[in-house]
């Protein structure tokens, strides 16, 4: 456990408060999401958010940062991400300059102690988040993209909130950051990682929630239209598609309808704007056939 390290996230009062706070910054959370965020704050544990693309995983971390007035540090994962990009790196050029700058060379011990000090350390997101003195939210985005071996890099940071640097020793967190990891589930994450996290599965929202999201995020939309949008999207998701419409696409679609000044959706307007929701030709054809009983 983290022992006496002061906790960095703004300590949240209750589940209800979390929900309201998220609502204030435009993130409509259901009870489950709010509970998990609250627990993460209380138990000082990272949250692993998993689910299909475009269901608001990354947005959740951003919103929590905004709500609590914390700084957001983001580590975007990709294949080939390594220690030097995620944790820290020595500033070779500066070290080289330092060595060359003093022709009357001091003893090697002195020099070594000097060039491996914090002045020559380039902090990368993980170390940055740990050393930050202000409240911080660390977002590790799309963790499933890195190799299984790289995942191990995170383990020390996530469970102990510390980083070991051979030349410097262990750097402990000054304030424990709030950590969110997101995954699109393209591969199974390691047991070790999952064990250290709270798990939150984010699926497409229920009808009422989605309507609420549309109302909240699309300026100038009427209630009836939002309701219709949510209903049509639900029907679309019940059809077997290669890529069902995500929340982000629902919002895009709702905005499109507002811009086009469509007040009430009929078959023709759906057909005209279906490409905003669906990104595969076959999907559009199938949806048109199922929903509108017409060939696209």
């Amino acid at each position: 456990m983290t022992g006496g390290t002061p906790y960095g996230g703004a300590t949240l009062g209750s589940i209800h408060e979390v929900r309201e706070g998220l609502g204030r910054v435009g993130y409509v959370a259901d009870e489950r999401v709010a509970s998990v965020v609250y627990l993460a704050d209380r138990l000082h544990k990272p949250v692993l958010v998993e689910g299909p693309a475009g269901t608001g995983k990354t947005q959740l971390a951003k919103s929590v940062a905004e709500m609590s007035g914390s700084r957001l540090i983001r580590l975007q994962c990709y294949e080939g991400l390594d220690e030097a990009k995620a944790l820290y790196e020595w500033n070779y050029r500066k070290q080289l300059l330092r060595i060359q700058a003093e022709p009357s060379a001091p003893s090697w011990q002195e020099l070594e102690a000097d060039i491996f000090s914090e002045d020559f350390l380039l902090t990368r997101p993980l170390l940055e988040a740990i050393r930050s003195a202000e409240p911080t939210v660390l977002l590790v985005d799309e963790i499933d993209r890195v190799e299984l071996e790289t995942e191990a890099l995170l383990l020390e940071v996530l469970s102990e909130y510390q980083v070991s640097i051979p030349e410097l020793g262990t750097i402990r967190a000054t304030r424990v950051p709030m950590v969110f990891l997101t995954s699109n589930n393209t591969r199974e994450l390691s047991e070790a990682l999952k064990r250290r996290c709270l798990y939150l599965h984010m699926d497409y929202p229920e009808l009422e929630l989605e309507r609420e999201i549309v109302l909240r995020r699309v300026p100038g939309i009427k209630e009836e239209l939002a309701d219709q949008v949510a209903r049509i999207v639900r029907s679309l998701r019940s059809i077997e598609l290669r890529k069902p419409p995500s929340v982000a696409e629902t919002l895009d679609w709702a905005r499109t309808l507002v811009v086009l000044e469509i007040d009430s959706i009929d078959a023709a307007s759906v057909r005209g704007t279906l490409h905003v929701l669906l990104k595969y030709r076959q999907d559009i054809e199938r949806a048109a056939k199922e929903l509108l009983a017409a060939d696209a």
């Binding site: 009870e31 627990l39 589930n185 591969r187 939150l200 290669r242 078959a267 759906v270 199922e290 929903l291």
Partner: protein, 464 residues
């Protein structure tokens, strides 16, 4: 509370969820932070600490409903007994007498049309009172009561009645009708859920959580027996198949890239050595040519094993980039090639649906005849099997006492690299009745029991 939690975690483990000790401790800590009277928060807290995969959520949910059903959570024993006698004597739900069938039907229609959430629970209670005929201490599962209630409510017919009524009121376009139907479907599903929950609640009151948990336990989707899966379970499997195949493809692709040491590349090494004054400091290696097998899938698509064959075909095609060629054949007692169906369709699931309609697989009577199918395969395509081919036969080898045609398999094995047989039956049934899998087994490199998605996944990743 801690004791209840231990029992609950024991139940989760019995259902197959991997819950470690750390997670148990986390859960115990987490419940301290949520108000206990808030069931949703409790559920979220336990879910976040104990369930680490979205696919395991339904199993968790069922166990949670049983262990923390509304009045067990209060832990009031006297109330429990009172409640269960209540169930027996006067049906609960507030009403003095059970509603008549006509009243209930009218209420059903009204509630479904209005879609009022709060009324759904009341309706479920009334329906269970009226139809389930629950008796305390009777050792039948919840499904029995559920079946009785649902049959009497006739939910299948309800959708049609609702739509008919909507049609009478105003003219609907196809689009509007579809939306309306989806809405009604969602409401009916909600009602069904409410009835299930109501029955479960009463059973828990009657028998206690532990006894009940065993009878309502749900297996994880990857452990569901494909041959005996219900319609909903099949749908759940279908949904899992896509991410699974993508995951497999990523994993296999990665494995291939990491193993990249071929034999020494002499030319490149010498060339490289020029920069170090002719001394070959850094040897260079060739990239190994990835061995991509050709796959011949021969699948039995007769009634009982059809769903298994479909899943396997779908999975094989979804990762077909890992093979240099995939050809597929389906048979009952005749055999037909269906490779072109997969080539035309972009989506394997569409193709699988088309196979049933298009393939010409019935020769005489439409009962499995492995012997004839294999002979026919050998005659028409036997020459195309080369030493690069891997042959997969999918089926239960229940041959209806026809000739086995094992000769063909022996022949295939001589020509092909590997011959595997995937059998969706449990191993203990092999060789019983008209199953002649043992006769084929001697000619195969392996006969694999493949009843669940998990087993299938393991086989496919070993194959590549």
């Amino acid at each position: 509370m801690l004791e209840l939690l231990s029992g609950f975690i024991g139940e989760l483990r019995s259902a197959g969820l991997p819950v470690s000790l750390t997670e148990h401790l986390d859960a115990a800590q987490a419940v301290h932070h949520v108000p206990l009277e808030d069931r949703d928060a409790l559920k979220a807290a336990l879910g976040a600490t104990l369930v680490k995969s979205g696919a395991h959520w339904p199993a968790f949910e069922t166990a949670f409903e049983v262990y923390f059903s509304p009045h067990v959570a209060k832990g009031d024993a006297t109330e429990d007994t009172e409640k269960s006698s209540h169930v027996a004597a006067t049906p609960a739900g507030g009403g003095p007498a059970p509603m008549s069938a006509a009243e209930l039907a009218a209420m059903l229609l009204r509630v479904m049309r209005q879609g009022d959430r709060t009324l759904v629970a009341a309706l479920a209670r009334a329906a269970v009172d009226r139809y389930a005929g629950m008796e305390p201490g009777r050792p039948v599962g919840g499904t029995y009561y559920l079946y009785r209630t649902l049959r009497n409510l006739d939910l299948e017919g309800l959708l049609e009645r609702l739509l008919d009524e909507a049609h009478r009121e105003q003219e609907l376009t196809v689009f509007e009708e579809r939306l309306l139907a989806d809405e009604y479907r969602a409401r009916i599903a909600a009602l069904r859920g409410a009835i299930e929950a109501e029955i479960r609640r009463r059973l828990v009151a009657d028998r206690g959580a532990q006894a009940l948990a065993k009878s309502v336990r749900r297996s994880l989707p990857e452990d569901v027996d494909v041959m005996h899966a219900s319609r909903e379970e099949l749908a759940a499997l279908q949904r899992m198949l896509h991410p699974l195949s993508r995951k497999l493809a990523v994993r296999l692709g990665r494995k291939r890239r990491h193993r990249r040491r071929g034999p020494l590349d002499f030319r490149a090494t010498v060339r490289r050595s020029l920069s170090t004054g002719g001394v070959p400091v850094e040897p260079r290696f060739r990239h190994p040519a990835p061995s991509k097998p050709e796959i011949f899938v021969i699948a039995d698509v007769s009634g009982s094993v059809a769903s298994f064959a479909r899943f396997t075909l779908q999975l094989v095609y979804a990762i077909s980039t890992q093979f240099s060629k995939v050809r597929s054949f389906v048979f009952v007692d005749g055999i037909d090639e269906v490779t072109h169906v997969f080539d035309d369709a972009d989506d394997p699931s569409v193709a699988v649906r088309r196979i049933t309609a298009e393939a010409d697989v019935v020769w005489l009577d439409g009962h499995s005849d492995y012997g004839h199918a294999l002979e026919e395969f050998d005659r028409r395509w036997g020459e195309e099997i080369t030493s690069r081919a891997t042959v997969l036969v999918l089926g239960d080898a229940r041959n209806n006492y026809h000739a086995s045609g094992a000769r063909v398999l022996e022949e295939l094995r001589r020509k092909a690299r590997h011959v595997y047989w995937l059998n969706p039956e449990p191993r203990q049934y092999w060789g019983s009745g008209d199953s002649i899998v043992d006769e084929y087994a001697v000619h195969c490199d392996g006969v694999v029991e493949c009843r669940t998605l998990r087993q299938l996944e393991r086989f496919v990743s070993d194959l590549v």
